[in-house]
């Protein structure tokens, strides 16, 4: 019995504290402080994206609204095509304030996941460690808090978020023009969810 408890504790410990192995990385090095993900730091700007969500074989279209209240605080709302607010949430580095969620979506686990995705998408971070690759031509990858930022042409091209040693979701900045993210794709690794965002410049305040 004691052995069984020990084994369970061991398994849980290993599964929750596993280390994610980034593809082709051979190690980690200290780096000078690197600012990452500065797409949403300007508090005078608001962004309107058209979104298409495919989740569990269901599709939903609408608009994503992003307001930068401070470089690390963002207000995010998703509204359906017909104008119904799906959720409206302020995201802080360590918590969130829910202003409204449609009753069907007002579930703690779901909101926590949504917050994690949008915090990762919008928050500026600073990294002091970078990954080492055998292939010296590899794009630089920085790591902060189990999250990996791949840089291309001096901007973040991909964010890979991990949890318990496994990939959780990936955010790809597919089209970046003058430091503004025009097209974004979020792919969840655990659940069958993909989100595509396309900037609506006319309705955004840039």
């Amino acid at each position: 019995m004691r052995f069984l408890i020990f084994s369970v504790v061991l398994i849980v410990s290993f599964s929750s504290c596993g280390t994610y192995k980034f593809p082709n990385a051979v190690g980690v090095r200290e780096s000078t402080q690197q600012e990452l993900n500065s797409y949403y730091v300007d508090t005078t700007q608001t962004y309107v994206y058209r979104f298409n969500m495919q989740a569990f074989k269901q599709a939903q279209n609408g608009n994503l609204l992003i307001e930068t209240q401070a470089p690390e605080i963002h207000r995010i709302a998703m509204i359906s095509d017909f104008g119904q607010t799906l959720f409206d949430i302020s995201i802080y580095p360590d918590r969130y304030d829910l202003h409204y969620a449609m009753p069907d979506l007002n579930k703690k686990l779901l909101l926590r996941e949504v917050t994690d995705i949008f915090r990762t998408l919008t928050a500026r971070r600073y990294a002091q460690s970078a990954l080492l690759f055998m292939d010296k031509q590899h794009f630089p990858v920085y790591e902060v808090d189990h999250t990996y930022y791949t840089l291309k042409e001096r901007h973040v091209a991909q964010i890979l978020r991990t949890k318990a040693g496994k990939e959780r979701f990936t955010i790809e900045f597919l089209d970046v023009d003058q430091r503004i993210a025009e097209a974004i794709r979020v792919t969840h690794a655990k659940y069958p969810i993909t989100l595509d965002f396309k900037l609506d410049r006319k309705q955004s305040n840039l």
Binding site: N61, E67, G83, T85, D88
Partner: protein, 208 residues
């Protein structure tokens, strides 16, 4: 003195600019309900619409525009043309969707809010009043226009909609604005223009 006059205008003038809203008298309610019954003769309606979604933290509303077609007894086509193309057709208890070439069919229950508004527009066209079991109905005058406020009574509807306002045109007595207020006080305003009554709508409009 000049400063006082400036502040007077700054603070009080805006209150006089918009059309004032007041409750209808009992006689006005009777007249309005009689007008609604005349509207029952409407067999079809087509209109352009602009949808304004107001979110508290956004300085300007998110806009989209399109065309709506209604044919009695129960056909409705709601098509966005700007800034995206998206068409929904309600008929035979189903919603048919064309999302930029991707077509699909849903049961009507999956679009509760749309069902609500389509029912309201249709019932406003038909006249005969509103379901007082479902809504607390109150009647107002906004300037010369008639305004109906509907507050859902049923708990299920209350979760999604705090209040619905229908503003009727002074020219043709048709619904020209629908405002859906959410429990958070964010709201969506639909403005219907270029309304055409009983001009005959091809059935093809209700196909994708």
């Amino acid at each position: 003195m000049k400063t006082s006059a400036f502040y007077f205008f700054l603070f009080f003038v805006p209150f006089f600019l918009g059309a004032q809203t007041r409750k209808m008298t009992a006689a006005e309610v009777t007249t309005f309900q009689q007008k609604l019954k005349k509207v029952a003769e409407v067999k079809s309606l087509s209109a352009d619409f602009v949808q304004y979604k107001h979110v508290s933290f956004m300085k300007k509303p998110v806009e989209s525009a399109g065309k709506v077609y209604v044919k009695q007894p129960n056909k409705l086509s709601w098509a966005y043309v700007s800034p995206f193309q998206y068409k929904m057709v309600f008929r035979d208890g189903k919603v048919f969707i064309n999302d930029q070439g991707n077509k699909k069919t849903l049961d009507i229950g999956n679009s509760k809010q749309f069902e609500k508004i389509s029912t309201l527009i249709s019932s406003s066209m038909k006249g005969g009043g509103y379901d007082e079991k479902e809504f607390a109905v109150s009647y107002f005058k906004k300037g010369n226009a008639d305004l109906v406020k509907l507050i859902p009574k049923l708990n299920d509807a209350k979760k999604y909609v705090k209040e619905i306002e229908l503003l009727f045109s002074t020219k043709d007595g048709q619904v020209e604005e629908v405002k859906l207020i959410e429990p958070s006080n964010d709201y969506t305003r639909f403005v219907l223009t270029n309304r055409k009554i009983n001009t005959g709508i091809e059935d093809a409009v209700f196909n994708l």
